[in-house]
Structure formats: structure tokens, C-alpha cells
């Protein structure tokens, strides 16, 4: 490689609009306002319009994408306070079974079971996982991986709540529009609320727990209580997704604890990029339609998610969203190497 001549390299410059910090901008023209607003507003408008455009099968896919997106958001929220969950299916299943039993035995309508199941599911998950919030990293992941599988076996062997047959003939949503807009709006609200929470002081403590929990403890903050609160929030979001799907399918069975609901959110967050929520949302919006397109392959789907997961962790560890964000916020030009 000892060639004589001029060599070039890429030089990257941040756009001048950023001032001092990630979230503070100096705006001087309407173009700059658009530059900041468009990436936020366009996806929102897109998602709100999509239910009008997509009908039938792909309308359902949109709902799945939002629900898996909620699970991925809830995963990302937990991971930003250092709790690494491999068992999103636990949250999903808790909400699904709560809504299912409330509707099946007490005949409550969906618009009452949904909030009850979300809050109840969040409480239940926080309660179930509260003995293990002292664990972290790999150990926490192990316990969360075990819980949904144990629940599935418990329901199968004890025959509680319909056992292996599940509960069927549950109440549907009043009409199609309520269902699809509930899904989309829920997804967007959760996305922006989580982004807001994590950038406030409350979220700062959570992120600090992830980075160095001992330092947070020595600041006199009870990290276990904070972790339980985070579990409640993430659990409530996951449970909402579960309860929603229960009414969408009008059925709840053991399959709500299936591995799909644990793997796909992690894959989505890893593909999109963890830590920003937008990445997790983007990942699930990409992965879910892809997986629906692959539905013909049957059981191979999970193997393919896993393949995507491995490739994206090894190949693009930062995730698609971080990559796009960097490209969007920076100039690139080729300069001579002196």
C-alpha cells in the first residue's frame, strides 16, 4: 500500500444547530425548525394515517407492529435502568390473562378491562419481580427468562383460567376503528412519554442506576424502590399490549407466554438501537411486517428473528436508529489527508 499521491478521508462535522447539549438547539430560520420537526412529526402523521389506508390483513399487521412496539419500548425502558429482561412475555401474559379473566368471569367490557389489566398487570409484575430486583445483568435476565415458561407450565398443569384450552368468546372492541386507533395512539403516547421520562430527573436516576448503582446508593437513593417503580411502568405497558391483544383475538391462552413475545422485542430493540425508544419503535415497525411476510415459513420465523438479532448485534451494534441519527445530524465531506 505504499502508493504515492494524495489520500482522502471522510470528515464529519456536526450541524451548527446544536447548542451545548443534545436537547438544546439554536434555531434561526423556518428551515431549521422543519429540520427538527419533520423527523418527529412525519412518523406520527404517518402512523395516524396508516389505519385509514391499510385495510384487512395489513391493518392487523399494523396493530401487531404497535403491540410488539409497546413491548419493545417497555424492554428499552427497563434496560435503560439496567434491568435486562428476557421475559417480556411475562408482562404481556399477565395483562392478557387479567383482561381475559375479568371479561370472561365478570363480563366487564374492554374499555374497563384494559385500564384495570394494565395497572393490575404492572403491579403484578412489579410484585413478582420485586424479590429479584437485587439481581442485575445476567442474573436478572435468567430469572425473567424462566418466569413466563414457568407460568405457562403452571397454567397447563393446574388447569387454572381455562388451562390449556384458554378462555374464548371474549368481548371484541366496539368497532374496528376503536381498536386500531387505540393501538396506534397508545404506541405513540408511550413512545413520547417514555422519552420524556427518561430525560427528566427521574429518568436521570434510572440511567444512573444502570451506569453505577453503587454511586446512586451512596447518594442516599433507594435503588430497589426505583427499580420496582420502573418495573411497574414497563410492566403496565407490556400488560396493556397483552390486554389489547386479548380483546383483539377475543381469546386468551397459554400462547401469550410464548417465546415470540420475549424474543421479538429484544430483537427489535437491538436492530433499532437501544436507549432512545425511537430505535426500539423503528425496529419493531421494521421487524413485524417482515415477520408477517415470513409467516408462510411457520416455525422457522423465530429462528429468523434470532438470526437477525445475532447479525444486528455483531454487525451494527449501535442499531439502525443511532446510525440514521448520526447521518442526519452531521455533514460528511471528503478531505485530503495531509
Amino acid at each position: 500500500m505504499a502508493e504515492a499521491g494524495i489520500t482522502y478521508r471522510k470528515k464529519r462535522l456536526d450541524r451548527g444547530i446544536k447548542a451545548r447539549a443534545e436537547t438544546i438547539f439554536a434555531i434561526s430560520s423556518y428551515r431549521e425548525i422543519l429540520y427538527l420537526l419533520l423527523p418527529r412529526v412525519l412518523p406520527v402523521i404517518g402512523l395516524l394515517v396508516l389505519p385509514l389506508v391499510l385495510k384487512g390483513y395489513w391493518g392487523k399487521v399494523l396493530i401487531y407492529a404497535c403491540m410488539y412496539g409497546l413491548l419493545a419500548l417497555s424492554w428499552d425502558f427497563l434496560s435503560s435502568c439496567g434491568l435486562f429482561s428476557l421475559g417480556q412475555a411475562l408482562f404481556f401474559g399477565a395483562g392478557a390473562y387479567l383482561a381475559g379473566t375479568l371479561n370472561y368471569y365478570l363480563h366487564l367490557p374492554p374499555l374497563i378491562t384494559l385500564p384495570i389489566a394494565s395497572v393490575g398487570g404492572g403491579l403484578l409484575c412489579a410484585l413478582l419481580l420485586s424479590p429479584v430486583v437485587r439481581l442485575r445483568g445476567v442474573y436478572f435476565a435468567m430469572v425473567t427468562l424462566m418466569l413466563p415458561i414457568l407460568f405457562m407450565k403452571m397454567i397447563e398443569t393446574t388447569g387454572l383460567m381455562g388451562g390449556s384450552h384458554g378462555l374464548s368468546a371474549l368481548a371484541p372492541f366496539p368497532n374496528e376503528w376503536v381498536g386500531s386507533y387505540l393501538a396506534v395512539v397508545g404506541f405513540l403516547v408511550c413512545l413520547f412519554v417514555f422519552r420524556r421520562i427518561i430525560h427528566q430527573d427521574y429518568g436521570l436516576i434510572l440511567r444512573a442506576i444502570r451506569d453505577d448503582d453503587r454511586a446512586v446508593m451512596s447518594a442516599g437513593i433507594n435503588i430497589y424502590w426505583r427499580k420496582i417503580q420502573a418495573l411497574f411502568l414497563a410492566g403496565a405497558v407490556g400488560a396493556f399490549a397483552g390486554a389489547f391483544m386479548t380483546h383483539h383475538y377475543q381469546f386468551v391462552g397459554m400462547s401469550v407466554f410464548a417465546l415470540d413475545y420475549s424474543i421479538l422485542p429484544v430483537a427489535a430493540a437491538a436492530l433499532g438501537g437501544a436507549g432512545t425508544f425511537a430505535g426500539a419503535a423503528l425496529g419493531s415497525v421494521i421487524l413485524v411486517p417482515l415477520s408477517e411476510a415470513l409467516r408462510a415459513l411457520g416455525g422457522l420465523r423465530i429462528a429468523i428473528y434470532c438470526g437477525i438479532l445475532v447479525v444486528s448485534i455483531i454487525g451494527l451494534p449501535e442499531g439502525i436508529f443511532h446510525y440514521l441519527e448520526r447521518k442526519y445530524h452531521q455533514f460528511e465531506r471528503v478531505v485530503e489527508v495531509e
Partner: protein, 297 residues
């Protein structure tokens, strides 16, 4: 005249011991890998069942005898573990959670591929080493289960001898104690890490060869093995061998007792209850040291 209580206690003792040893067999490879290279190998269960199907394929497609097929599948699974480390894990080395995602995804991919290829059903079973049984204190036990017990003891002893009396074993222990110091005295950590995963996988395969003939093979067993291995490891303390043995005895006896006194359907609660109890009483695990406490709590 038989004394029913005494007979019940005897069967509890014998079957409790057997299921504890089966749990220890499940866990031994997992805890070896974690102890040495710090990789929580979530593909452990998948490797376990994969080796079973490899052996089955050798027997039914190549017509090999079980012993040879088992040996081959242990070697192949070991190589597979090595490739898994060298090809995938090396690229995310040191990022504990990325390692975990990669092994877990690889494991689930293997299991789902096996299911997709149609590896389930009554015809997939490995032959018993020995047929027949014997009565110990009025309790009937078949030879295969006794063989499992013997194999468990022998395997633990062999592993101990290997780790304490060979050069590779010394390198293993060196790396387990302190990777950087080991590196500075010429122990190449990538190589030893890959070897440890190869060994762990081979141990999973050995366990599979011994335990699988007791039942029908299914890819869902892979998840079960992983879960029990994790439960035992959490109860006992991840890298400590005595912890692993005590942990498997707690869960094994707990399960047999639960099946006997409460009902078989409550067996599944035992590992979870054991984890929660141990965490409440001793957060660092039964044999947790201070170092371990720092890592997990």
C-alpha cells in the same frame, strides 16, 4: 409385611438423589463455562438436545452402535461450541449482555430449526444402556437410573481431576481467577475461552447421552434443561462447584418431595420458590463469595 411410610421415605431418598444428579448433569457444563470465561451460555439447553439428535441421526442414518454414535456426537457438539465462541462470541467479548443475547439467540435458533425439521415424536429416543432393574429397600429402580447416578459421580470426579491436574485445567483456573493476570503469564484468553465453551458443550452432550435414554427427545427439552441449569446456578452460586451440587440437591429433593406430598403439578414451582427463598435469605447464593455478591447484587 411392608411398611408403607418407610417405603415412601426410601423412594423419596432414591428418586430425590437421582433427580438431583440429573440436575447436576444439566448444570455442570453451564457452570464450567461461566466460571472460566464469564459467558452465560444460554445455548446450553440447545446444545444438549442437539447432541441427542446428532447421536440419533448417526445411529439411524449411518447405522452406528449407540456407544460410537454418542462419542461422535460429544465430539461434534464440543466442536460446535468452539465454533460458536470463535465465530460469534469473540466479536462481542466482554459485553456481558451482548454475549448473552448472542448465545440465547443462537440457542433458540437451533431449537426452532430442530422443531422445524420435524424432530419430535415417539420415534426419537435413544436406547438404554442396560435394561431391567433392581429393588433397593423395596423400591424398584431401573439400571439406567442407577447408571445415571454413577455417571454423575464419575463425571464430577473426572472434571475435578482434569481441572486440577492438567495444563489446560491450570489455564482454566488461571483465567477464572483473573483474566488479565492469566494473559500476562502467557495464557491466551481467547483460546482458553473457546476451549471452555467447547468443554462445556461436550459436557452438555455427555449429560444428554446419559439422561436422554430415560425419555423421548423433544426440542422443548432444550428450554427445560436451560431453565433448570439456570435455577441450580442461581441457587448454588454460578461458578462454584460445591454450590452447584448443593443447589441441584435442593431443587431435586424439593421437586420429588413436592410431587409426593402436594401433587405432581406443583413440581414446577419448586425451582422458582428455591430461587426466591435463597435470594431473600442469602442474596449471593448458597456458596456466594463476596466477589460474587458484588457482581450480581
Amino acid at each position: 409385611m411392608q411398611d408403607p411410610t418407610r417405603r415412601g421415605e426410601m423412594s423419596l431418598l432414591i428418586y430425590g438423589t437421582i433427580s438431583s444428579i440429573i440436575l447436576a448433569l444439566y448444570t455442570i457444563g453451564f457452570s464450567l463455562v461461566y466460571g472460566i470465561s464469564g459467558v452465560a451460555n444460554f445455548a446450553h439447553g440447545a446444545l444438549f438436545i442437539l447432541s441427542g439428535f446428532t447421536a440419533w441421526s448417526f445411529m439411524n442414518y449411518a447405522g452406528l452402535p449407540f456407544f460410537l454414535a454418542g462419542l461422535l456426537s460429544v465430539v461434534i457438539t464440543g466442536l460446535f461450541g468452539f465454533v460458536l465462541y470463535w465465530g460469534l462470541l469473540l466479536r462481542v467479548r466482554g459485553i456481558a449482555l451482548a454475549e448473552l443475547i448472542v448465545t440465547f439467540a443462537a440457542g433458540v435458533a437451533m431449537l426452532e430449526l430442530l422443531t422445524w425439521r420435524g424432530f419430535y415424536g415417539i420415534r426419537y429416543s435413544l436406547p438404554l444402556f442396560m435394561r431391567g432393574g433392581v429393588e433397593i429397600g423395596e423400591v424398584a429402580v431401573d439400571y439406567q437410573r442407577l447408571f445415571v447416578m454413577g455417571a454423575g459421580f464419575v463425571l464430577v470426579i473426572l472434571l475435578w481431576l482434569f481441572v486440577h491436574h492438567t495444563r489446560i485445567g491450570l489455564a482454566f483456573r488461571g483465567m477464572a481467577q483473573n483474566e488479565r493476570t492469566a494473559l500476562s503469564v502467557g495464557i491466551e484468553s481467547d483460546w482458553i475461552g473457546a476451549l471452555s465453551l467447547a468443554f462445556g458443550s461436550a459436557l452438555a452432550a455427555v449429560a444428554a447421552m446419559v439422561v436422554l435414554p430415560l425419555g423421548v427427545m423433544e426440542s422443548s427439552i432444550g428450554y427445560e434443561v436451560l431453565i433448570y441449569a439456570l435455577a441450580v446456578a442461581i441457587v448454588g452460586g454460578l461458578e462454584s462447584t460445591p454450590g452447584m451440587i448443593v443447589g441441584s440437591f435442593i431443587i431435586g429433593f424439593g421437586q420429588v418431595a413436592a410431587a409426593k406430598y402436594i401433587g405432581a403439578k406443583w413440581m414446577i414451582i419448586v425451582p422458582l420458590a428455591a430461587i426466591v427463598l435463597v435470594l431473600v435469605v442469602r442474596p449471593s447464593g448458597m456458596f456466594g463469595k463476596f466477589k460474587e455478591l458484588e457482581e450480581r447484587v
